[in-house]
Symmetry: D2
Amino acid sequence: MDKIEATILGGSGFSGAELIKLLAGHPFARLAAATSTTYEGRAVSDLYPGLDGLTELVFTKPDLEAAAAADLVFLALPHGQAHKLVPELRAAGPAKIIDLSGDFRLPADDYKKWYGQSHASPELLGEAVYGLTELNREAIAKASLIANPGCFPTGVILAGAPLFAGDLVKGDIIANCLTGVSGAGRAGTAATHFCRIDESAAAYKTGGAHQHTPEMEQALGPDARVSFTPILSPVSRGIYSIVTAELKSPATVSDLENRFADFYRNDHFVRILGPGKVPEMKATAGSNFCHIGLAVDKRLGRVTIVSAIDNLVKGASGQAVQNMNLMFGLEETAGLKTAGLYP
Amino acid sequence: MDKIEATILGGSGFSGAELIKLLAGHPFARLAAATSTTYEGRAVSDLYPGLDGLTELVFTKPDLEAAAAADLVFLALPHGQAHKLVPELRAAGPAKIIDLSGDFRLPADDYKKWYGQSHASPELLGEAVYGLTELNREAIAKASLIANPGCFPTGVILAGAPLFAGDLVKGDIIANCLTGVSGAGRAGTAATHFCRIDESAAAYKTGGAHQHTPEMEQALGPDARVSFTPILSPVSRGIYSIVTAELKSPATVSDLENRFADFYRNDHFVRILGPGKVPEMKATAGSNFCHIGLAVDKRLGRVTIVSAIDNLVKGASGQAVQNMNLMFGLEETAGLKTAGLYP
Amino acid sequence: MDKIEATILGGSGFSGAELIKLLAGHPFARLAAATSTTYEGRAVSDLYPGLDGLTELVFTKPDLEAAAAADLVFLALPHGQAHKLVPELRAAGPAKIIDLSGDFRLPADDYKKWYGQSHASPELLGEAVYGLTELNREAIAKASLIANPGCFPTGVILAGAPLFAGDLVKGDIIANCLTGVSGAGRAGTAATHFCRIDESAAAYKTGGAHQHTPEMEQALGPDARVSFTPILSPVSRGIYSIVTAELKSPATVSDLENRFADFYRNDHFVRILGPGKVPEMKATAGSNFCHIGLAVDKRLGRVTIVSAIDNLVKGASGQAVQNMNLMFGLEETAGLKTAGLYP
Amino acid sequence: MDKIEATILGGSGFSGAELIKLLAGHPFARLAAATSTTYEGRAVSDLYPGLDGLTELVFTKPDLEAAAAADLVFLALPHGQAHKLVPELRAAGPAKIIDLSGDFRLPADDYKKWYGQSHASPELLGEAVYGLTELNREAIAKASLIANPGCFPTGVILAGAPLFAGDLVKGDIIANCLTGVSGAGRAGTAATHFCRIDESAAAYKTGGAHQHTPEMEQALGPDARVSFTPILSPVSRGIYSIVTAELKSPATVSDLENRFADFYRNDHFVRILGPGKVPEMKATAGSNFCHIGLAVDKRLGRVTIVSAIDNLVKGASGQAVQNMNLMFGLEETAGLKTAGLYP
């Protein structure tokens, strides 16, 4: 079989680099080009020395024509660019598209409200498939435009979906999520300075201000209202979500574990941990897995679900590759059988 | 003025060491002895090299008689010992007592339920004053037995007290709290191994199982029901609490900031951060301060309060010294004017 | 082709777990069993949750007969056990052996001096091949007993070998090496407590007392005298070596870079960084690569070489797999094409 | 007694903030102003939230006249500014000056060579006293212009001075020094990004290129040649120096410990650790202490000295305050009796 030929527009950020890494080890895909306006002409391994010996790729100037001629384009650009580029890309060639930004995840009015821009190609929103693989596998397999989920939504939706599917909870869902600093991107700023992050923790966009909130609610269903607080944590990678909600009727933890296990019975990358186990963030670092642990507070009638993912893998580039695998008829786990870092 | 003469029973753990450090720099107190069964005969600075040059103290064998002869005894023992020792101590001499364990914080039946032991001196529970300084200042000043608060309760109660005082919220309070590893104590175990903690996060005692839950509810008032999840975080010191609840009626963030500022108007160590500011855990490390930031989610009608303290200082030994200052008529801030570590 | 059947004796430590991880992803090898006296009956993924979904293996009771019936046995036991076990293993079956401990690296008298035990099978020492792959490729390919190198020696020898091969330096080699905490093993002790390691650094076995010193000197050649100081560093993985020596005659940094590039021209896993570049420890974490950077101090006539490896991969289990590949006629990089963690 | 009135020019960087913190707790000094061109008008505690509750100071516009009218000016500016400012300052008023930059530490030709600028006030170099307190106490007490030492030189010189004073070593001194990230300053850049530093280590200015080299050699004496390599380490604070040299004649470690203890017999802040002890970087974090441990490698005839300091305290602002104390006849330890952070 011919390998899938892929290109990346916006390859020099952390998500782009993670895609390059995953594609370098993928048995059935080949990365033809990764573009970067800023780093054009520089070797990928120059910016990402961990890739030295694994790729000879050099960042090239963005070229829509060339990108569109490939089988697949990954868009790993900052929010606000893809919604302008996608129509041009589709006009230029047959490539399928996986967009890792927030541009195709929300209806146009929500996009405007949460991202502060009018959407430039609202006619495509109906066609874009939300790429939370475990929830939308069939649609993804047939799609030519994927809105790849955000990192926080991936962690929270995987933790919460079985609750809403089973109509188990009422009231607000509280989601407090720790994030690794790589989620803030590659730019060095006061906010990402080691001395600020180290030995610390810092919530941000408190009070429901984070743009991932509507993405979570949309995927969880019409009844979902999510009170979401992100917390910057002194680790490089990971989303660690503490999700809690009030149960509609009493349930034991093993009832719920069974429901979750059943809900995810065909999902290799979602691991429901056994009784009494709680996910450790680090165990998913570098891998495409999502670990989920459950607990019930009988006294208060609440369920608490803890989920862990790597923000750059299952929360971005790994899930993008998982979606690519589906879109091209490959085994879903191809190129993604990497263990979490432990120790 | 003569200096207060203090002793510490159980001085070799992290809380004990922090007391030694604070007392070494206290202008009006003198530490006569710190005991340790395990480390008897070893210099304090041998175990805690950061104290080299600041104290010549050598750990001595526990001696109730000698301890009780001092002005004040700090009990920095593991949970489950103080409730047996206190009657003996009081029989042996006039020393006032500040107990840093959980032994005198709850009614006898709750103690049995959450700590798994029958209380050995229930007749003293009525007399013990809960040492959350900002809430109980007058009673503390007159007390001879203080139940010094737990680290998580200190962070959560300071965040939540003005809400209950003002009858502002309804439903469950959700408190997700990050803790530094020093909260797990000085013993080296699989659970405190660097390779497990580093680059990770791990919730524990999920589902409302943590023994600090009733302590929080008791201090917040009869209507308070707290869904509390502690999360071990890769920092040495700190409690970082994300507390959220549903508002009874709409309120703006500045309404609430004003209420909090008013509630804590006489409390030097509680700092209500200005509009839009969120506490950073590290800014309180090594200090007795509690930083508090507020946010309101109008859409959901919820308030989120973030508080930061150092678990060993305001969450244990610093608050103990603050209480000592009150009990002996000193300025409340004596010996506690230390800045948080930043950077 | 049939897959190589491998077993691990002592699979529950960090090196054992890393072997399990590497073999789980190896295209041409199959791990038949991993033994553990302590954790017999427990799932590997129970101890190492990062392997959940990648191996179903359960730790089994050590069984020499079964182990020896495989194609290959990895010994990942603490120092001092392999030298007693190897004769029994060889009597029990045909399996080739790769020993990850220090037991077959030194002559019997040096072993006694540095490891404090008399060697139980000195007759095998002549036959054991030192498994620093890049230096002994041909002998390794034919060997049936490999003494897999220590982590510090791997980093220092790769940094220093071209200097001695070219007779370029004189006097003592100074090797100061940072190590990740995983080098201290899986046991939780006061020495591996997060609160001791975090925000710190601690040299140990100073004054030439570390048992890896003779291993370095033996591999570098008869003229090599190494002043080696290990330093425990707040990272989980990595050996970062600063090696400096006096040049016999003036040389430019590009002279030396050329010599190093030539020396390692056939060695995929050794990367000589370009002019002006210095290795970053993290770029090799999780990979089998060794990054090397050079600098010359003209004023003092000294060369400084910096090398970075992952202590558990190139410094232990990755190199063991690399040696396995050679011993069984596979491509040397099989199962080892993993990128370093970055970010 | 009237308090010393001090001002800081360049108060918003890490050294400036540490000075503000130390002076806020100093019993006999008062900080009249701290200037900042960038942050003029902003509260100090806005940039450094750890100082909230301890200072009300607001950064002001630089004003030489006002500064020079104080008793003392601390210059905490980037390298290359003080050598131009000092003549103006001295013309404007009577204030004594402590310069924390490198501008007055080297002869004019060395300054040009290592800092790349011609010195603007070479006539003052003879008068400037090098402020390594323990070595120059008498001159410092009488000085009106202090060249406060660099962080690396402080760690290395304190480790090496007794060796040269006793004529004990020959050949090159090798100094490999770990540094906390705060040494890189407050600016957020790619080099200080958490994701680059975390779980890593990175040497820089290898090959003798660091400008602190001549400062070390000058203070250690005419025979000293230092091969110095700095290594960026994943901690916020600290300089951890591994210094090794060849002994001129055999010596035991207790001989050397005695010599060091004698050399520093009047120096409260220099702690020679007992037999077999090695400094831990963290034990000096936040304090003005320097911990020193010694080891002898009999086989190679070498001594290894390990020293630990906090780069911002003993390596910068703490030593500046120590010098201030001497210059104004105060007890040397005034305002500096802070313990290192441990745990």
